[in-house]
Amino acid sequence: MSILTIQTGISMNPWKIPQRAQQIIMDNYLAKNKKSSNLKTSSSIFSEHFSRLFMILKERQNLKTIVFTSIFQIPKSKSGIKIFKTLVENYELHFALENLVVSNLAELNVIIEELNISRKIPTIKNYNINKLYKLSKFR
């Protein structure tokens, strides 16, 4: 079974992960699972539609697994999500940082719902520890 790893743009809210670092994370994930990638590719940093990925998948029938760095690379837009969901019809999706494997639409929908919930409330950007203490409801 052939494995593809895909780099995306570095901005994946809440993080910025350089593309080289993305590759290192994916390679490390695969190595831990005693696997390695057969093909390393990247997608446009200006689009959520993974058009280059779909072009490759069309040409390489032997690919069965696609590895992403994080679930935060799943598109935000409705059209992007719609296209992304078609991937699980034919491929197993792996998300290295979260150590997750998705092999059907129901599993992907759970993750998309998690993303929807977390994206509603921006993460804390404050690094003043005394102010952070004050944010606790358990004070």
């Binding site: 940082l97 993303l115 409330i121 993460t123 804390i124 952070l132 203490y133 004050k134 606790s136 358990f138």
Partner: protein
Amino acid sequence: MHNSEDLKLLKTKGYTIINLPNKNYLIQVRAIILNEMNSILKTNISDIEKMRSLVGSLNLKSLDKIRNLKLKGLSEKLIKAVGNKTKIVGKDLLYLQRYPHLNLNIANINESKTVSHNEIMSGHSPNTVVCWIPFHDIIDESGLYVLEKNKSMELYNTTNNFKKIFPTDNELSELIPKCLKMKFGQAILFNSISHHGAKNHNKKKARISIDIRFQDIQYPLFEKNLDYFKVFNLKKEPI
């Protein structure tokens, strides 16, 4: 104890000891962990006290192997053990740590103990709560200590939140309280601000414990994000 009293303690003291309402899930998790450890150590031990003795004699190499245990699927069981006590923290929808941490505190292996810290210093949100659960009774100083809230805050003020110097446990010895004594089936819930840690001990048996973190989804996450947490709906999961 009623949840409102636990919440009050979580606010005023920074921690509370709860009786796990669904202890059977903890028993299941303990059995799974023992199986995994047996598989790594090539043993066949089903008694936790015997496993504690064996782990207490391990070297660093074996310890590292156990630390790499995959703990998939155990957070869900542990949070079910906490059951309606999760209501102290939030409603049914929670951020739940994807994979719990297994902790072994072994005599003479300094690095096996958790150094003193608070959760915010590790990148957790101010509203994350830790549930620390031992796999056996804790009757000695091998467990976990938690500073009361006012002492934690005093420590942060006097050290400027450890900005320049992180005092050693020896330097903090006057401040560090005794480890909390507990029965199997109990857990410590403590908030992100509470200063906590473990001590070196001289017992032949290792302390074996597990911990998970969770928080109400209405509050934002900090550096630990969905790489670390999943969304969990306790209502949808039959107990």
